[in-house]
Symmetry: D2
């Protein structure tokens, strides 16, 4: 049995759902998931479809047919994924280890369904963790003067290992526009505040200073503007006046881990689409 | 512009989605909501569809066509609702007023989109509230000896006012099997615990005794077995050892109100289906 | 049996707790609540104490003794409240009714333990609600030209009715510095976002635009700077891409009501202290 | 600077707080945390106190003084802990690895402040994880016939390594009454439901069957009666009709991890007391 996932967006028109569902029905597909959303403000239609095929299934031909018979007509942006294809996820870290431990624990427990070709860091501190989990570790230091070479080295590694997407597990360096344009909507960051509050550095310090009663974490795609990319997932936890900044950092760790992993999983399962700097999340 | 909502369940078969979406597409309907669910264990297919029609739209004819062309073939249970039809909701209460105040506040704020033909109670205590909100109030006392007449009186009122569904806003009497069979999946109760924990009387007392750290509330359809009907909505709030039973009751009020109103709204918007004593909630 | 509540703040020193608890023990008080907090950054000590007295209890004498024996020595800010004194709470509204309905429902249900001498509005829309609940209503329109008189009228009413504190139940006018200085930390506002995100007007519109996955509400004391006063309580609810601005407004209502009422209750129960534009909340 | 934590419970009497705070004040202690609770139903007083001492501090003498001067008079159950003493925590596991990974990640990140002398399992599956984290692993198989020897072996290891408390990270064997009586309120279990709902085996299956809209996890002390011990911490997550049992198991993992780790930390920080099969949690 083969399973494929279709993601579509295009100008909204009547009849798209009927047309698309017919297309797969005619090919003996069984729809096991359908959801759609219309951005009425901009007149854009979005759809996610999962189809199961019990017979032999030629994805190359289906893609060609779909392009010819449907996508062209509606001028669609679309992707058809085969489930068997396992994504390759690179992890970038600096010195904080909690998100790394969490991802690797989930990875080993079989929760993610990805390959992790390597862990990359601008510091050597977390190399032993990579080793304990049996994953290649690359130390690519970044200084003011070596920024360009460092990035070149990073891109070289990403290409060599055919990485599909990158997760920044508290990686404390700015990602360059070049890298972002090479991996559009494929670099996932965890920010330790409920954005747009407390963007930028030291959000726990700012939260403490403002006296908020909840702190948050935000998982988002990286764009050129810092902490302003499309939000994939957010969550919060309650705090009180009695919590010090150190307490916030500690409490925040659990939030960061859980929000980050939820965001990563949504991406892996191709449940996210991006439009106008916002995400559509098909759950 | 007319808007209709379709609810379907039937034995799962390939092609239902394509067939149904085509049906509406051919009639110039524009699908603005589609969601489906397959209970794989029992092989049952569920779907909810919202269609907008910009042209004249003959719901009687569409219903007849749908029955003939589709529903018969697939042996469907189905309903097609026109949005204009405003539901009539009766409220049953006893002495607690918090859920009543909450519902009436929402009603007056235009949040519910129903008519409330009357409030019925086995006590007179809450009559002034009904009066303040300008809603007819019926006092139907229930004692051991008058149970049968009381119920007859209730059914009479329900029929007279053509009530569609009943909400039990902390109504402290058992609903008879007869009443339940007259309003299947149309009597909505709020129970003050996270069912199945603490079913029956005095759940806050039991929660206190067990030393739980969360209390809950459950909104469910009433069935013959007490507190065992299909769950529509649940939520919880945190408590601690320092909360007395009185505190739990007070904290629980807010939970009851919010969970009850969410459940009622899901019902009004026809987002609920019931199968095998469980709900499918299309959100 | 008399019950008194003590609130203290002063420069942190060793021995305060022992000294204060002794003071009440010597007068046959029974401590039923004690909590303290030290702002280590600024070296400030905060304490809340509830004492029960089974014998006759002369609060005037106790206050004098406390000032002489303890407060002077430690240079304390302090207040000793007798529980019997019922606070007077004025409600300011404009056109939105959901928070008003919620407060009045709680008030009638005996949940708040305050008097409500009047409801004041710059519009006439909500007068019928005041009437239905039997509470005096004052219409004080505010225009550019009548601002000064309007405020004078407001202050006159507040003084005439000996109002202790004011709650702004979605009151859509700026509160003047004069009013704020007359009621320091006694004007409570509900803002419909998780501050500091989306301060100012139309937070739901901004939340929609940014594509956040959670929306919030914040209950805070009003200070001269808009939406920047000490936060008493916050909470959030999850949203998705599929929610329109109208949906956010509707979902936000429930948040506003619950967060507002929690903040108001903390204030009424004298569980809040303010320092450095932050609250200490003794729960 | 030395820091000590005092836990007390005794029959409630007036003056205990003043007496105890004086005791530490006279010895130049600075109270940095005080909280108390009175179980009014049973007339029992509970207190937790943290004291900092800047001078030399003789804990042995203070303990003797406290017993003589205070504890005897009030017939107290009490413990005075020195902060420097690091607790020894044994981990029991079976085949599920998610809780183990989570604990070990936190341990390595310095979050727990305990020693882990060993991991013990009735299966060999998780030995590689113990090895990767550099922690001794003991395989003690348990079968019907070897139950008694297995337990003897377990107790021998616990004594040899001077273990303070045991955490059952999804350990799938019943703990014997003997073991429980050797470690009263020192064996911590994670149960994958919001107890008292779905006690016993397969709670996710039961939750699925009942159609609940929230699932939970409960961290509790182990007592002779299965899943009925004092609850330390609980939390929940929302589910829908569309989640299969497998989904519940996966979603539940995150809940189990977070609830378990919170419960363990409360225990390590001596913030828990047990009375009448309920916990008092000093936060």
């Amino acid at each position: 049995m083969a399973k494929v996932t279709l993601l579509i967006n295009c100008k909204d028109k009547s009849g798209i759902i009927a047309t698309v569902t017919n297309f797969f029905h005619e090919r003996n597909g069984n729809i096991v998931y359908i959801d759609q959303y219309v951005d009425t403000e901009n007149g854009i239609f979005f759809m996610r479809l999962e189809n199961e095929f019990s017979l032999e299934f030629d994805i190359v031909k289906v893609r060609a047919d779909f392009e010819k018979e449907i996508a062209k007509t509606y001028n669609m942006n679309w992707k058809l994924f085969a489930e068997e294809r396992v994504l390759k996820m690179a992890i970038f870290v600096s010195k904080y280890d909690h998100c790394l431990y969490d991802i690797l624990g989930r990875y080993k427990a079989g929760e993610l369904g990805v390959e992790i070709p390597f862990i990359l860091s601008n510091h050597k501190d977390l190399e032993p963790i990579a080793k304990a989990f049996g994953i290649p570790f690359y130390h690519v230091p970044v200084t003011k003067d070596t920024k360009v070479e460092a990035e070149a080295k990073q891109l070289e590694l990403l290409q060599e290992f055919e990485v599909d997407f990158i997760v920044l597990a508290r990686y404390m360096q700015i990602i360059s526009d070049k890298m972002i344009s090479e991996y559009p909507n494929n670099i996932i960051n965890i920010h330790h505040s409920f954005l747009p509050a407390f963007a930028g550095a030291k959000p726990y310090h700012s939260a403490y200073k403002r006296g908020v009663k909840i702190i948050g974490a935000t998982c988002h795609y990286v764009t050129a503007e810092l902490d302003a990319g499309p939000i994939i997932e957010q969550d919060i936890t309650r705090i009180s006046h009695s919590h010090s900044i150190k307490d916030l950092i500690l409490k925040g760790r659990d939030l960061e881990k859980i929000v980050f992993s939820r965001g990563i999983k949504l991406h892996i399962q191709r449940k996210t689409m991006v439009f106008n700097n916002k995400t559509i999340i098909f759950t």
